[in-house]
Amino acid sequence: MISAIVALCTFLLLVLFVARHLRADYSAGTTAVIVALLIPQVMTALSAAVVPALALALLLAVVAQSAKILAEARSARGIVVLGISLAGTQLATPLGAVVAAILAPVLALHLPAERRARNLGRLLLLLFIPVVTAFVLAYLAHEVQFDPASYFSGPFDFAIRPALFARLAPRPKGLSEALLIGLLAIPIWLAVLRSHRWTASAQVASALIAAIVVCALLARADPLGTYLASIAVLNALSFADPSGDPLPPAHAVALSGLSAVASWLFIVIPV
């Protein structure tokens, strides 16, 4: 039964990607190569956890849309709530710190002066609470060996959390690995940079955040796998964004390949 659902989900995702890439005027060959590079990454997650993958899809849509509405409605309350929820995820998983590493390059967007300043303001507002929380948690972990995540463990977390924390704990090596994860999202940053739109930034941020929420709340499967898969999916969606300027096909293929290789390296590199 589960295998059937996995197969169905994978098939639906592939249909979605193919349709989107074709709509972005990529040739059938280019689309096939991109999807082929994408499949191993997506399967890493889907084969391990169907429920997280479905929840991820739902959260991607809901959080991205709410972030967009918040930005348009100028609701400070909404921004605060979003920031607090992001910080809250860090209490459940150290992966929350990765958000900062992934989105930091976005802050250096090369946009026209006024727009750049405004986007920077929005992103800072969104990231401030999670980043400060990460610093405080890092300080607590370093100074008093306090790991709040351990107090929020679910019944199935005991097998995952030690390895995860060892891999991404706020130590020099852990932080460099977090940065490596951030580098995997280069296509996303490029898409944001090219789109010149706040909504793109919000969607990317929300999507990554949603992935972490899923990891934290439904961490029965390999959270890293889910996380990497979400980046891969977003990469593919990003450079085929029909509302912006799709990446040139050669660049898209190259970036897909890089993303796949980097994901693989990340998984196989020992701690």
């Binding site: 100028r74 609701s75 400070a76 309350r77 921004i79 605060v80 920031g83 006024e114 300043a117 405004r118 986007n119 920077l120 303001g121 929005r122 800072l124 507002l125 401030f128 609470i129 400060v132 610093f135 405080v136 300080y139 100074e143």
Partner: protein, 543 residues
């Protein structure tokens, strides 16, 4: 010389007033008795009232209200001056800052200091930890309360869309503009006030100048001579030389149903008075005051003006609306306070001894059962663009908050009874917390600095635990303050200012400098009004 309707001439007014007079009654008219049953009055209804009171044979000379008021002012100058200075102190002494610290408060303070000294000598280690905790709680509680207010204030008021009042039903509106050494900004002020979208015959604008400030008075005279919506009131010299004293002196002459205070450099949005009338009409009479939003037209001039803008945007766009929504006593902000004139008179106007008389007035209104609400209209001001000017202004504000806290904490039980438990706690956190945070901040940084420079263990005391407490507390408090500053401009969409909020901890250190200066001044010169210089900004466009 004056002539009555029959053509008879009378002497200049100041030489012929009757000796036994009733100032309040005259001002309510306005009218003024002259000799031999002759009266000066502004309109027919007043003349009817005069005849009803003094007999049908009373004769009346009609003059515009501003001339009648001017005559009353000349005649009753000494009485008005006394009233401006002492009305509150004589009628509600418990609310007057004329006494800085009562004997009871002084005793409590001395005992507390003595206990602290003994604790420091006997248990230095515990004392440092306890002190760090107390200061952190004060610092972070203030920050947390502001965050709470921001969330509460981030909602549109239920009366923001009040039905506009038809022009023919608009009431008279008095505008008080206290001026001292402001000659250079007055032309711009006159332009801004003339731009108000309000019937001219209903505008009663009082340019209040100090009698010995010749330059400002000269410009005011020119403005008033060109446009009869303006009138000039000269306040005789005296102490304390403060803005509230000047406003008190002028208040009896206001003939508007509503009264608003603007500063010399203010540029209110043209529809502000209409919005205020509409909102007053939509609210019960217990709402005595509406506080408009304040912001700056030179926000982007330099780092200081940007930080000041973040500060103001947070305060007026979020924190005060939060207080409004939670029904917590609201300290008014220095300008654009719209009052029901009658209510203002009932509570004896402003406290001339309080250097943040507006903040005190907001609390007093709440204590007598009246409410202050916010008004969704902005007055743009000039953000001070140099540190010296900023320090003087901020020191005065913090000193005024200390005065206000001391006044209303003379009897905590009464405050609790008047304001309720929520209002009491809100007052402690918002008014007390503001200056206490400014004073606590450098002490906490001091723990860090000492431990870094000399180590956490000295021969006298170990600062290890206190340092840890300080680090976490400062991180949380400064983090919150920075984030709140970043959120401040969100409502206006001025997100290019948001990144500057990251430097809020530096700004808070400057506020701490002002806090220390304020405390020193409270001890040495409690009523001294540190004048803020206006008209020095390099940019004048509305943001």
């Amino acid at each position: 010389m004056y002539r009555d309707r029959a053509g008879a001439e009378y002497s200049p007014l100041e030489t012929v007033y009757s000796a036994n007079t009733d100032l309040a009654d005259f001002l309510a008219g306005p009218y003024l008795p002259l000799t031999d049953g002759l009266f000066l009055a502004a309109d027919t209804p007043t003349a009817d009232r005069i005849r009803a009171r003094y007999g049908a044979r009373a004769r009346v000379i009609f003059r515009p209200a501003r001339l009648v008021f001017a005559a009353i002012e000349r005649r009753f100058r000494e009485a008005l001056l006394h009233r401006a200075k002492s009305d509150l102190a004589e009628n509600e002494p418990q609310f007057s800052a004329a006494t800085v610290v009562t004997k009871g408060q002084a005793s409590v303070l001395l005992i507390a200091l003595l206990v602290l000294f003994i604790l420091l000598a006997a248990f230095p280690h515990l004392f440092c930890i306890a002190l760090a905790w107390v200061l952190i709680v004060a610092f972070d509680a203030n920050a947390a309360f502001r965050a709470f207010l921001l969330l509460a204030g981030d909602r549109p008021s239920e009366t923001e869309d009040a039905v506009p009042v038809a022009t023919e039903r608009l009431p008279a509106y008095s505008i008080l503009v206290p001026l001292y050494r402001e000659a250079n900004v007055m032309p711009a002020l006159a332009r801004a006030l003339r731009a108000l979208d309000y019937p001219r015959h209903l505008l009663d604008i009082k340019l209040i100048v100090e009698m010995d400030d010749g330059d400002t008075a000269a410009v005011a005279d020119v403005i008033a001579s060109c446009d009869d919506i303006f009138s000039v009131i000269r306040v005789p010299p005296g102490t304390p030389r403060t803005k509230p004293r000047a406003c008190n002196y002028a208040m009896p002459f206001c003939w508007g149903e509503f009264t608003v205070v603007f500063d010399a450099e203010d540029r209110p949005e043209p529809d502000q008075l209409r919005k205020a009338v509409a909102k007053f009409r939509a609210l019960p009479d217990s709402v005595a005051c509406l506080q408009a939003r304040l912001n700056f037209y030179n926000a982007r001039e330099n780092w200081l003006t940007r930080m000041f803008t973040l500060d103001y945007a947070l305060w007026f766009d979020y924190l005060l609306p939060g207080l409004d929504r939670l029904n917590i006593p609201m300290p008014l902000g220095g300008t654009s306070n719209h009052f029901r004139t009658k209510a203002l008179r009932t509570i004896h106007g402003w406290d001339p001894y309080n250097v943040t008389e507006d903040a005190d007035l907001g609390i007093r209104l709440a204590r007598v059962g009246l409410r202050v609400r916010t008004l969704d209209s902005t007055t743009f001001e000039e953000a001070t663009n140099n540190f010296g000017n900023w320090l003087r202004q901020r020191s005065r504000w913090l000193k005024g908050y200390m005065q206000t806290w001391l006044v209303h904490m003379r009897s905590p039980r009464d405050l609790l009874r008047n304001a309720g438990i929520g209002g009491f706690i809100g007052f402690q956190l918002f008014v007390g917390g503001t200056f206490l945070s400014a004073l606590a901040n450098p002490v906490l940084w001091g723990f860090l600095a000492v431990s870094k420079l000399f180590g956490t263990s000295t021969g006298f005391v170990s600062l290890d635990a206190a340092t840890h407490v300080s680090i976490v507390g400062l991180a949380v408090g400064n983090g919150l303050f920075a984030y709140l500053a970043m959120l401040g401009p969100f409502r206006r969409g001025w997100l290019d200012l948001t990144p500057y909020g990251l430097t809020a901890p530096v700004y808070w250190l400057l506020i701490s400098c002002a806090g220390v200066r304020a405390l020193w001044q409270l001890i040495r010169r409690p009523y001294h009004w540190d004048k803020t210089t206006h008209g020095i900004c390099k940019t004048g466009g509305v943001a």
